[in-house]
Symmetry: C2
Subunit: 409 residues, 2 copies
């Protein structure tokens, strides 16, 4: 029993990751808001284009861009105003040469038009005419049908954990129910003759159970479903029976070990007897947290954590949280904020803070923060992005190669 197989943290993670995700989770169908934080069990493909029609992204006039070429402050182009597109209604009036149709942000673009002139760059004249003081390029200030999401593409893959922006893209596609996995079920069992429940008055030599509550809180924060199995005395038969019951009812079982060598030995003995493949490691080269033991028995995983409450929390946060929350140890979001090198120059206007959506990639010296294209009307840009980079109030932009901090979603 004292033949420790002490491994490094990296080795411990490699051994556990080999069995994760554990098989056997059930699929459930949930309405959108209830599915937040859950993992998709089926991919979601777009049935429709988003947006479903080409839309204006500014208040102004839909025009033929070619008509505005050469317009300037001193020499405006004069167009005939032939109608307007009311919000939420079809565009019925077409834009012919020399014509314009009034649109609002979000309006359907009328046939014939290929750009929007901002209202700020125009003046309404008598007799149904407008003056345009600045030229626009084709495609300016509009978003084309399908530019956000193209019908037929897979929007979210299996295993993806649903974030708020994912709920948004699903709503935009008319998906109101999704198939997700049930939460990880985690059983927690305290061990040790000296441990009494919190509601008890400890006698001399006894202490109240702390670890069941800190661990339950940590599991809940990761979205797991906790069941407490009470406190097992230092007795092989009793402990084995409780562990078997907890394993039968959960995917993962956490034993918060009694602190003494006697209890630890007992834990190892129980774990060794649960079946194949058996104990993965017995001791990790970290402090606090060294006396951590892990085993896999059939489809189930079980970890014996140190008895000291700080040690148990540290081991949870480095070995268990990444699996429960992100499914692996190398998921980017596990790091919350990361430093990265900006892949290209982005500009900003001094006097306001800019928030740039970025996707993280691998660069020569670490992460590369790649700005995600697409205007702020595009929910798909938030789905593709891993986080936000801030351009401070007084900066005119950030140059390619700048070291930036990415706040991860």
């Amino acid at each position: 029993m004292e033949l420790f197989r002490v491994v490094t943290l990296a080795e411990a993670r490699r051994l556990l990751a080999r069995y994760w995700p554990l098989p056997g989770r059930q699929e459930v169908i949930l309405p959108l808001l209830a599915a937040l934080g859950r993992e998709l069990a089926r991919p979601v493909a777009a049935k429709d284009d988003v947006p479903g029609f080409t839309r204006a992204t500014m208040d102004g006039y839909a025009v033929r861009a070619a008509d505005t070429f050469g317009a300037r402050e001193s020499q405006p182009v004069i167009l005939r105003l032939v109608g307007e597109v009311p919000m939420g209604q079809p565009a019925t009036v077409a834009v012919g040469p020399g014509e314009a149709v009034a649109v609002a942000t979000g309006s359907m673009m009328p046939p014939g038009a290929d750009a929007v002139v901002m209202v700020e760059n125009t003046e309404l004249l008598p007799e149904g005419r407008i003056a345009v003081f600045k030229p626009v390029a084709p495609g300016q200030d509009l978003v084309r049908q399908g530019a956000d999401v193209r019908a037929g593409t897979t929007v979210l893959p299996v295993g993806h954990t649903l974030r708020p922006q994912d709920l948004g893209v699903l709503a935009s596609l008319g998906v109101t129910r999704v198939t997700v996995y049930e939460p990880w079920r985690v059983g927690i069992l305290a061990t040790g003759n000296e441990i009494v429940p919190p509601e008890a008055n400890p006698g001399p030599g006894q202490v109240r159970d702390i670890n069941s509550y800190t661990l339950a809180g940590l599991v809940q924060e990761c979205g797991g479903k906790v069941t407490l199995y009470g406190i097992a005395p230092d007795d092989l038969e009793d402990l084995t029976a409780r562990v078997r019951k907890a394993l039968a009812e959960n995917h993962l079982v956490l034993l918060s070990g009694g602190s003494s060598v006697g209890t630890r030995d007992l834990t190892v003995q129980v774990l060794a007897g649960l079946g194949q493949p058996g104990i993965l490691f017995h001791g990790v080269a970290i402090r606090p947290g060294k006396p951590t033991v892990a085993a896999v028995a059939g489809d189930k995983m079980i970890l014996g954590l140190p008895g000291h409450p700080v040690s148990a929390m540290v081991v949870f946060s480095i070995l268990i949280e990444p699996l429960l929350r992100y499914g692996s140890y190398d998921h980017l979001a596990g790091r919350r904020t990361v430093e990265a090198i900006l892949s290209r120059t982005v500009t900003s206007t001094p006097g306001r803070e800019d928030y740039i959506r970025v996707r993280l990639g691998a660069g020569p010296g670490g992460f590369l923060a790649v700005p995600v294209p697409g205007g702020s009307s595009m929910i798909s840009s938030m789905v593709q992005a891993d986080g936000l980079v801030t351009i401070p109030l007084e900066e005119e932009g950030l140059e390619a190669g700048t070291r930036v901090e990415v706040k991860l979603f």
Copy 2:
């Protein structure tokens, strides 16, 4: 209506923070595990010392430290073994001069003893004697009664949001029910003639509601309780009625504005008519997110967010999330990981990763990371700590003044 009062982000935060926390939350009593993430409405004071008795923190022998002075490998001190303390039971045998009593990690210390000799530094001899090969100092490898939490001290203040370690310290004190505030109730109302619910098939010029779902997800992630109030058309009377209903039933209401100027003007008109103190600002110097409007009416707060989904999410994350999640804009945990200067040198053993608990303080050039004293048996050290600093596998420690990254709880 077009008299924008555009403010900087800092000014917008200052204006909102003046009214936060909003009054009027009810208090509820919850069992420990259900209270995770909730804010304490009453302070919690310790009724007992934790631990309730002086405990060994190593497996070995309780001794009088003075008896071991001068012990070395070549010249051990020989002590008489006069008994043992079984786990979870009172220590009945006292340690006299020249005597030792066997203890396990967590055992009650026997009267007369003032230190523990680790079992690794001893040898069991025939005839009830042990050899001690290394001296111990008084107080070594034990934790004194009340060293973790002293009876009578306030352990957690009003307004504190309960984290897993806080559940642990409450359990250790025998507190199994706590008085917390109800979650923030947040009403969400979409506006705009062009918006249809996700389950509808949008006609020409219509789009499905995205913002109600992204915002609901964000509020839920912050622990808030969401109610959706559907989609209001661009009609002053209808919108006003829906906003008043949402305000009556919630603490905070989020309008996800239609994107057109017409809808935005309408939103401002509605907000201006709700009562005193009225509109706080109308436009923030950020991108995306400029057309954001905020008002306070009586005890309630209402924000009109931009219609573009990306803009609405960015504004939520910088203006609303800090209030809902942390109660203010300057709570440290809002930054998740922070850089700090280590206040004193900490040592480590190469070949293992060390996790140091630190409290954050203000230093001359930013944050100071101050290591929290206390062994890993002390749950209070996790309650006092703001986060963890890692000492990498091959380092022998980190010197005072080192720039470190603190992973916040």
